[in-house]
Amino acid sequence: MRAGRLRKAASRRNEGTMAKKKQRAKPPKKEPRVHQPDKALVYILGDSPIVEEYIALCSSHGYVVLYDLEEKGQTKQSFDPRLVRKSAKIPSNVSFALELTNIDLEKKRKNLEALDKALPVITAIVSSSVTVSATEQSLWINHKSRLVGFCALPTLSKTSLVEVAPTVFSPAETIQVVQRFFTSVGKEIELVQDRVGMVFPRIVCQIINEAAFALQEEIATPQDIDLAMKLGANYPLGPIEWADKLGMQQVYAVLSALHRDLGEGRYRISPLLRQMALSGTWWKRM
């Protein structure tokens, strides 16, 4: 029954809840709705290695990809130069833009402002909304109805499903465009409410946080914790392996966002985890 009620809530969400309807009742007049990209040019910017992963994903599904990456300016892997090029300038014929920053939110804001300024109002922006809600991001730009949030963390581009979070400003057309984009790169979509941490990052980062508390209290060794969770609880990876895979700074960014957003003791961050994220030291060397 709960599931039923929630499903109804989910379908209501697609149509727009009462509150959202109110907010959406008068769409800004000078804001034409976005249209579907015609499998052409995608512009990507944000954190490494998520940027590289999405370049690989888009270019392997027939898109031409332009990207920008601050870190030494180079991607770690090499791509087909006919399909993938670095370009600090954002050309106006881009049909779809991806913003993948989770860690430095000031940089994210600047990226989104630049995209909003350079791209025609009909171009949709999908932006990682793991560490700041998509609704909050849409308030940073002028054409707020073009932005839709989604879940981007390292290695998740390789999974079959993506969490997508429309904002209170997202019209159905924009959501459809974003859905079609993800379908075109071979992904299923799960529409979730636009909240910091989304679903998977919130759960897995809290698992890692708990493991960090246990480690800090010297309850067991990192190797034993991983082993215990895989053999004793059927986890596909141990918490320390998860942290390695996602990157400690990304994990720390998610946990910080949860703590900031929910302001509750249950989201306090293990001091050991914080120290490792800030210093770049690693569990296994301890």
Binding site: L6, A10, F200, I207, I219, I225, A228, L237
Partner: protein
Amino acid sequence: MVKHLGIVGAGTMGAGIAQLAALAGIDVALYDINDTVLRQALERLKRSLNKAVEKGEVSAAQSTEAFTRIHPRTRLADLSHSEIVIEAVIEDVRIKKDLFKHLEAGTKPTAILATNTSSLSVTAIASATQRQEKIVGLHFLFPVESVKIVEVVRSERTTQETLDRCHSFLSQLGRTPITVADSPGYVINRIVHPFHSEALQILGEHIADAEQIDRIMKAEGGFTLGPFESLDAIGLDVSLNATKMLFEASSGDSRFRPHPIEKRMVDSGKLGKKSGQGFYSYEQEKK
């Protein structure tokens, strides 16, 4: 190599450990308070051993031989030969303390006395005896026959020698031992907790529904079961109880706070698979 094992409590866990040990060639003295309980336990053990034969896990001869190694006992004094005694009685610290006093008096001074508690402090139980250095937690998980890992819980005074003996005993049983400190939930229950608890929190905030959360955790996270499928399988009452214990043992840390959704469902009798209804409906399966 351990030759004689004592087990106190012939319930699901006690009998499971008895089977494991007997199959590993160890003589098991299986104690419980009366013949009726023991007879039922032996019947269950026979069925379980037969099942293992059907599945091809052990031969018929091994199964028969294992069964003859399990000796039902109704007097604690009959455990006196045991090198290790494992207690698997009700999770009540007073009952366990009392039992350990009796075990201390009735076993060799070299014998290790272990508790299979999953939620009580091993140090608190050990404090009832004068043999604290030989007292340890051996946290076997349910179902004993298929979970390959055992947490060896080091109390405040457990010695390294005791831990080493426990490790080699568990290797003898074909289990992987890990040593953990005596603290609420040890490692496994503690780090399983956020998988369920954070999912309940997300559900409670109406970010996604239970089916969506399960789909996301399986497809994005690679988990075999989603958190709600998992809660339905464990039983919501069992999970709620474990959470309450964790919450209490951590002196009310909000990370371990039981969720109102789970409480409400338990109150209403929606306990998961076993009751036909949890986060999902199992009515058809029941018929």
